[in-house]
Symmetry: C2
Subunit: 288 residues, 2 copies
């Protein structure tokens, strides 16, 4: 039993045999959207916590890890990222990081659920500070459909900042979606997607890589990084492209005109340095 | 509430507002030693779990992360590690990794509590495979006293593989102990110690660095790495020396004559690439 004099938010990952919990003080927000149940809690030590269908999405305290690693590595890898599409990302934390790059000229964010952004504006206002940037367009639509209908070659970078591959986000981990992304990406265009826990979800990571490859995204790089409120506390994202993915643009990254808490050229390369148990599994996918 | 149809091991880190839990099936071992309570549980998905005074020490599934990162980085940093001392480490996982280095000529392990090693032999036999290596000496004594009485310059590497800085291990995080370590280290000798979570225990990490510096260990490197069963899932170790600590010996590390699951020259450098919120805090300690 967890200490009963505290109120706890609990997230059990039963298929992996573990759970993570945070001490909370009160529920600040609850709304059942047409797609999912969005809640926000005040925690004792992690600031605010947003959950979707009972799963932790982000906290004030540690969301910088995920948001920085979903945005800066891909933007400092693409040679000249001007046109960015974010699928999901309704909390606007990724959008906020993307807009810190002066070379980005336009960002379109397509989240299916306006309630996520509504809750974030109220309880994570620091992530929504850039929502009115003239370069940003926020739309609440189906990301699958948006990408399918996108003009060929219309984006330099597509960031898939989605929930787990169950429920509304399931199609975002499928071959047909990756094929549409491949078509929507311009020359040297790069897709990046959160790719779950290296320890818990290695099979899923391999399956994503397999689907990406079949969809024509023959060049891929996976990065790993810590993320305490996600299962296992260890997370990853995967970049994929039709063209060879170059080395990080270290000089530009070192001269970035904004502060970061986690991202540096060093943590970028560190994220790319995969443990052998992961790199061996991914190499096997390439050899299929 | 966590699902009540499961049995759970729970570890609450109340001062940080979180908890981690594992589904268990049965208790395999329990013994109150003169120092602490040692228990082993069978888990559903993590193999066996050893706890000390109710805190997770290691599991079959993920101990490779900690044990590889406590041993290989320091051994591939010291120019010629022949004489190694391990303080703590009674589960013998670090010892096992150290003994995979052919250039190591002798390893002395000093854990205060024989019950930890007894439990490990029974329930983590794969970690104890090398205990009979003729290069290894296992003694069950007070590590503080051992280091205090060690001949000056008698070790190339000292690995402090201890529990948290409460209870029996408290003195292992203090200036007097570091001073004794500094004296016991030979030329270019390096101490490495587990230094808790970068996110949860940044103040402790800074305080360790401060004490190390005051004890004459003026050169330090901290590495970070994932460790799911420890609080926050994100952990660190810190190397400290009287002499400048060189770059990793990448060629030797790349040609290592044994398999690893996490360690490579890449993850070694990745571990050294600290996030700005950590490197800034540690830089401030140097400037005091």
């Amino acid at each position: 039993m967890l200490p009963s004099d505290k109120k706890w938010f609990n997230e059990a990952t039963l298929e992996c045999g573990s759970a993570f919990s945070l001490t909370i003080t009160e529920k600040l927000f609850e709304e059942q959207s047409p797609f999912q149940k969005v809640e926000v809690f005040a925690t004792e030590k992690f600031g605010n916590l947003m959950t979707i269908d009972g799963l932790a999405m982000l906290t004030t305290r540690d969301n910088f890890l995920y948001h920085e690693m979903m945005s800066h590595p891909v933007l400092y890898t693409h040679p000249a990222p001007k046109r960015v599409l974010i699928i999901g990302g309704g909390d606007c934390g990724t959008l906020h990081e993307v807009l810190r790059h002066p070379e980005v000229e336009q960002v379109t964010q397509i989240d299916i659920d306006e309630v996520v952004t509504k809750a974030s504006r109220l309880f994570f206002p620091e992530l929504c500070e850039s929502n009115d940037d003239p370069r940003a367009t926020l739309r609440f639509e189906d990301g699958l459909k948006w990408v399918k209908e996108a003009a060929p070659g219309s984006y330099d970078v597509i960031i898939v900042d989605s929930t787990d591959p169950i429920g509304p986000a399931e199609g975002l981990f499928g071959e047909a979606f990756y094929r549409d992304c491949a078509a929507a990406l311009g020359e040297n265009g790069i897709l990046v997607q959160q790719s779950e826990s290296p320890l818990y979800h290695l099979e899923l990571l391999c399956e994503m890589n397999r689907f990406m490859g079949r969809a024509g995204l023959g060049h891929r790089q996976t990065l790993h990084f810590p993320q305490p409120v996600y299962p296992s506390g260890w997370w990853s994202c995967t970049m994929a492209s039709r063209s060879p993915i170059g080395a990080p643009r270290d000089e530009a990254a070192a001269a970035r005109p904004f502060d970061t808490l986690y991202y540096t050229p060093g943590t970028h390369h560190g994220g790319l340095a995969l443990p052998p148990f992961v790199s061996r599994a991914l190499a096997a996918v390439y050899e299929e």
